[in-house]
Symmetry: C2
Amino acid sequence: MRKHLLPIALTCLLPVVSMAQQQDSLVLRQMADEVLRNSTAYENLRTLTKTVGGRLAGSPQMAKAEQWGVKALKAAGADTVYLQECMVPHWVRGEKEEARIVSKLRDFVPPLNILALGNSVGTGKAGLTAPVLEVASFEDLEAKKDQVKGKIVFYNYHFKPEFVKTFLSYRDAVIYRGQGASRAAKYGAVAIILRSMTHGAYNFPHTGGMSYDSAYPKIPAVAIGLQDADRLSSRLKKDNSAQVYLRTNCQMLKDTIGHNVIGEIRGSKYPDQFITVGGHLDSWDVNEGAHDDGAGCVQSIEALRTFKAMGLKPARTIRVVLFANEENGTRGGRKYAQLAKQRNEQHVFALESDAGGFAPRGFTSTMPADKKAKLLSWKPLLEPYGFYDLDGEGGGADIGHLHQALGTPMAELYPDTQRYFDVHHAANDVFEAVNKRELELGAMGMAGLIYLVDLYF
Amino acid sequence: MRKHLLPIALTCLLPVVSMAQQQDSLVLRQMADEVLRNSTAYENLRTLTKTVGGRLAGSPQMAKAEQWGVKALKAAGADTVYLQECMVPHWVRGEKEEARIVSKLRDFVPPLNILALGNSVGTGKAGLTAPVLEVASFEDLEAKKDQVKGKIVFYNYHFKPEFVKTFLSYRDAVIYRGQGASRAAKYGAVAIILRSMTHGAYNFPHTGGMSYDSAYPKIPAVAIGLQDADRLSSRLKKDNSAQVYLRTNCQMLKDTIGHNVIGEIRGSKYPDQFITVGGHLDSWDVNEGAHDDGAGCVQSIEALRTFKAMGLKPARTIRVVLFANEENGTRGGRKYAQLAKQRNEQHVFALESDAGGFAPRGFTSTMPADKKAKLLSWKPLLEPYGFYDLDGEGGGADIGHLHQALGTPMAELYPDTQRYFDVHHAANDVFEAVNKRELELGAMGMAGLIYLVDLYF
């Protein structure tokens, strides 16, 4: 496209708002200038993803990530930076995972692309070989329960394409990852294979946390890429002798020490009142944790940097928290909430970014009606930056614990969700999957929301 | 992110709308199902980009693209498919383009990554070597006009990052591409080099159409990648002997024959009233024309396919037009409008998609107030699919001619714009840059808008 267009002045950038909102509108525009003209958020993400990489709680990479966080928060101008200790689960993937179809046909079959689910037990070094029972759903499992014993249950539940808000597809399907192993173990299954939850057309398996019901034996659980899921399904239909050999060496070790990384701007009027803003520093081990949740970390740091760079002095203390362990335990968020309660801290607001560094569409939130009304009144200020949807209920997995402990009003950045499940928990969640401007607009809106909350909550 | 979530039913997918809108709401939801469950738009785009590739008006590839269009429209179920002949400009890039810094320092300097601007004359086979005058803007050019003679003018005008709607950055900067050559030639320049209009951080040069003012000599014009622009600028500051060698072999040949590719669903009540929906089939020669504008073509075809697949019988004739020549002439759009006027056709509405296949945010439009009021009343129906912004003024470059000739109400798909200028007119506008779901949601909204217009306009 070319278009015949005329030059325009930058002055037309300011949105049409009420007289009372004009000053705030100007501040938000300056925040946008500060963030969009500056590459700090993007370069921070590059360093985190490319020099640290994947960083599961308890891993050596996570210790490196904590040091990265301290450095980035100091560079952003935080008045204070410190670590908050907490115990975290220590799950390790172990050495080479593998899976393949074995069959009496003895034809060549390429290996299956799998990833053990987080928190899963392994098969042990010898691996296991068993016939496979494919089920389309839990209903299907129940119908076939007499056939389960001694088999690998293959949950071939399809991620739904119809939901426009793709987290609804996730909500619909994630129960198979969370509970699938124990529900199959109940009927004597020896392992499970889970069709990945993704819209992507390629073959990356998507891992993620699972848990066991203590009433049943713990059996190995792995995710499989879509193309391999289709291939396995097709093979099972035409080859009665087909079995699957599976080897995973993952194990859950004893809890270990982790840290929330915290940086603060001290409040100019009410230093003992807190506004929390954060993302989680941990990520799965198999990718760079770029969208999940390096993006949320660097956006939170960028919000703080924007305040400092503009010389804004918030009334309340703004506390950036890079949470220690969201993926397989939310222990960072739990510890933060527990200490806040123990210390009788006064928490005004908490904001999280953990839905990917995509172009913002709004904020979801959970707060009393009077606060929600204020939030909605800021729509004319936020919409010019893409934040048009402020209605939705929501909040983050980490700050949810603070909300639960103290009733703190909470919100979460709501980015466009179309591309999230292409990369979520898969090897392709890397720096290159994040667009600089989309990341920046999210950070800008977070800074703006904190600014408004600090003034009016 | 993991979230503790519960399974939900698909029934909650329907938006809250008035009683009167419930039936329409249901139809739009069915359209979304049809498009999101089906890969036709995406697979059509794959075929166009991967088997035809770049397709400048007048090129052999464009003839191949026309055949692709005929086939795709027939497969989508069009009642009639035909070609509409028009004359198109025939600009060819010619053989190898090259540029490098030459200097008395005789050190090794990597070549400069350039692309001739569309419609530009070439340097001829020998190329040209000249000193370079860097200017920051037209104001700067005027201030330095006495230094221009015999030199290559290097417009190092920076694409602004502050605009949230990135087409405003384009509008701000595109005048340098359009008029830069003649305004430099006026003072005796021998060629121009243009800093590319992009937010991308890499070194792809971005081409695009330019034109000459007949009052001045036609001089060669090329775009240069951002990293090379910075490198050239830095070299000029520290090396007085630095010149640039430039060779381009492009030329404008005689006009040749092209075609708009047209497919129709015949109106069930008013077959002589037309609703036009289209994108442009031509693209620049150096990429696959995926976002610009393969996306618009396959979305338009998908809108037609959706009507047919759902058995919807529109009252008016829906006419999908794949325009012959947008990039360097809009001759396809001109011809279409000219014939419509000549034949006294009654055009109810025209819709274009030519701003990339990104996640939709709304539609821009130009139409009388009563029609605009109707459009705005459909917001509750369209917003669940991401179309929240229906206020903006706009319309497409191709359908703009129809609007001008007949006053036809027009609208353009308004997708998210953050990533567009990473790929616009550059070698990386390829199939892989398009996200399947983002493309599909745009197509679904286009089908929905046509459905509503057909009922209520």
